[in-house]
């Protein structure tokens, strides 16, 4: 059962694979962090990647996005080997920790505008359509009032929403989010969920979300992938629940429900 309806998207493109990882392994030195992982994220699909701390989630994301070279296995991104992807602007990415320096002198709008830059082509001047897209992205995370504030004056949760808006601004076909809603209030989580539903339903985007907090998005997830170095489970949330595990569990509980999956 699909959780998000794809009313505005041609049927032909739904299901087209955006990420295809086969037999993927990565080791720091001789310590394997990710081992023999198969993972697919397709257009119109919402996949949640969960696992306890140190289970290799962030490393897996970095390998999938081409920031790290796998020690074994292959990744295809947007239909090509990840090192050969030329249209990377189709990817929206929200990093786990804000990667900006704590004293960067920039407004919220300036940061979100860089998301547009990737899509427009960095050498092209920005147009009114780009300004509009930035405005919509800011609205979708509830930051339109703070658009011209210095980002350094925002709280950690608000800053995280800025990075979500930056990813939304590029209208991505593949959206990869690493722990984006930790520390975000309930109202913002609801907006965030609605924006994801819009992106998937109206634009046929595929979403890969790493999170310990799935309660806000539980009803729209198509597949849950449980990672603990290897993939322990990959299937619809209902099946995960059948196997004695409920969604929205905090990280302290994760080892418990991993027990249930053995």
């Amino acid at each position: 059962m699909r959780s998000v309806s794809h009313s505005a998207v041609p049927d032909a493109i739904i299901g087209e694979p955006l990420i295809e990882a086969r037999g993927l392994s990565y080791a720091y030195g001789s310590t394997p962090v990710v081992d023999d992982v198969d993972l697919t994220v397709s257009r119109g699909e919402f996949v949640a990647l969960v696992g306890p701390n140190g289970s290799g989630k962030s490393t897996l994301l970095r390998v999938l996005l081409g920031a790290l070279r796998p020690s074994r296995g292959s990744v295809r991104l947007l239909g090509r080997p990840s090192s050969e992807v030329v249209d990377r602007w189709r990817i929206g990415y929200v990093p786990q920790r804000p990667t900006l320096a704590p004293d960067v002198p920039a407004t919220v709008r300036e940061i979100v505008m860089t998301g547009r830059l990737a899509r427009r082509g960095w050498w092209r001047p920005l147009r009114s359509a780009d300004v509009d897209a930035v405005g919509h992205a800011l609205e979708s995370v509830g930051l339109d009032d703070l658009a011209d504030h210095p980002i350094t004056q925002l709280s950690g949760g608000q800053q995280q929403r800025v990075f979500i808006a930056r990813a939304f601004a590029s209208e991505p076909e593949l959206l990869v989010l690493d722990e984006p809603i930790a520390g975000i209030d309930a109202e913002s989580q609801r907006r965030f969920r609605d924006s994801l539903v819009h992106l998937i339903g109206e634009h046929g985007a595929g979403v890969l979300l790493v999170s310990h907090e799935l309660s806000a998005v539980a009803d729209v997830i198509d597949r849950v992938v449980v990672l603990k170095r290897r993939v322990l489970f990959d299937g619809p949330p209902a099946r995960l629940v059948d196997e004695g595990v409920s969604l929205g569990i905090h990280q302290e509980d994760l080892p418990l429900w991993l027990e249930g999956l053995r």
Binding site: L65, G66, A67, V85, V86, D87, R88, W89, I91, G92, Y93, P95, T99, L100, A101, D103, V104, P105, A106, T107, R109, E110, I111, M113, T114, G115, L117, A118, W122, W123, L126, D148, H149, P150, F163, R166, S170
Partner: protein, 289 residues
């Protein structure tokens, strides 16, 4: 360009800029006062505030090599500086060494090599000291032409590419994921820095060019709310420091390069103190876009 210099020299400016040599020093200083903070704003975001100084010392080795080999030292300085800047960037990007460690490696090797090469050809002459501390009051027509042309190129490139440079220097990991040209922009910034240092050092000295890449930016960061605002304030402080520094140099017979740097440092100090003492802080509202 010589004609252009003649026009500048003929301008009926008031004291202390009524004399030809002061007008040339002012023109050269203003160009540096604009382009050094422009480049520097991006370097400071990259945590590479000291790169201007580092490259200056590598260029110093290039000057020594040129004097020893009998080649026009500006060309050897440029070759060394561009090579060094790209080397520092290579070390930093591959995380072989932290940004400051990469700089230190080149910085000390550069100054040591420069000293060895210069002593090999008969000691540290006044021409070498000129490169270190600058001789803004003896700018000639050719030097003016070089610095004006370079200033135009730097300002043009930085303004045209400011958005992508901003994205790359503030968030390199994200920029690579979404396909922005991270390596190309880092290399461009390194080369621009090297070229700017070499072109400006004979006139204003390594000290001044490196200082103007950082001190006005520090003030800009205190006062600016946005990145564009910070850029504008930094350039404003750079230009203002050049004018005030040259004026005080003329009035009290100070070393002009040093006077300009001291003014820029003083501005930062005053702004930082005011920000600290005025309730609610001190910011300049800068309209966006």
């Amino acid at each position: 360009m010589a004609g252009g210099v003649a026009v500048i020299a003929a301008l009926p400016l008031p004291f202390p800029f009524e004399l030809t040599f002061m007008q040339r020093a002012l023109a050269a200083g203003l160009v540096v006062g604009v382009f050094a903070p422009l480049i520097g704003t991006f370097l400071v975001q990259k945590r590479m505030s000291l790169i201007g100084d580092g490259i200056g010392h590598i260029a110093f080795a290039g000057v020594g090599a040129g004097l020893l080999a009998g080649i026009y030292p500006v060309w050897t300085a440029l070759t060394f500086a561009v090579g060094g800047a790209l080397g520092i960037e290579w070390l930093r990007a591959r995380r072989k060494a932290g940004g400051d460690l990469a700089l230190a490696l080149f910085f000390y090797s550069g100054i040591a090599l420069g000293t060895v090469l210069a002593s090999a050809q008969g000691g540290l002459g006044t021409s070498i000291l000129g490169f270190l501390f600058g001789q803004p009051l003896t700018v000639d027509g050719t030097e003016m032409a070089v610095i004006l042309a370079l200033g135009a190129v730097v300002v043009g490139l930085v303004i045209a590419l400011r958005r992508v440079l901003f994205a790359v220097v503030t968030d390199e990991d994200w920029s690579s994921v979404v396909g922005l040209p991270v390596r190309a922009m880092n290399a461009l910034l390194a080369v621009l820095t090297a070229v700017a240092v070499v072109a400006a050092m004979q006139i204003v000295g390594i000290l001044l060019i490196a200082a103007l890449m950082v001190l006005p930016v520090a003030t800009g960061q205190l006062l600016g709310r946005s990145f564009n605002g910070t850029l504008r304030i930094a350039v404003g402080v750079g230009v203002g420091s050049v004018i005030a520094g040259l004026t005080s140099a003329r009035l009290w017979g100070l070393a002009p390069g040093g006077a300009i740097v001291l003014v820029a440092a003083l501005v930062f100090l005053v702004v930082a103190l005011l920000r600290h003492t005025i309730p609610g802080g001190l910011t300049m509202e800068v309209p966006e876009r």
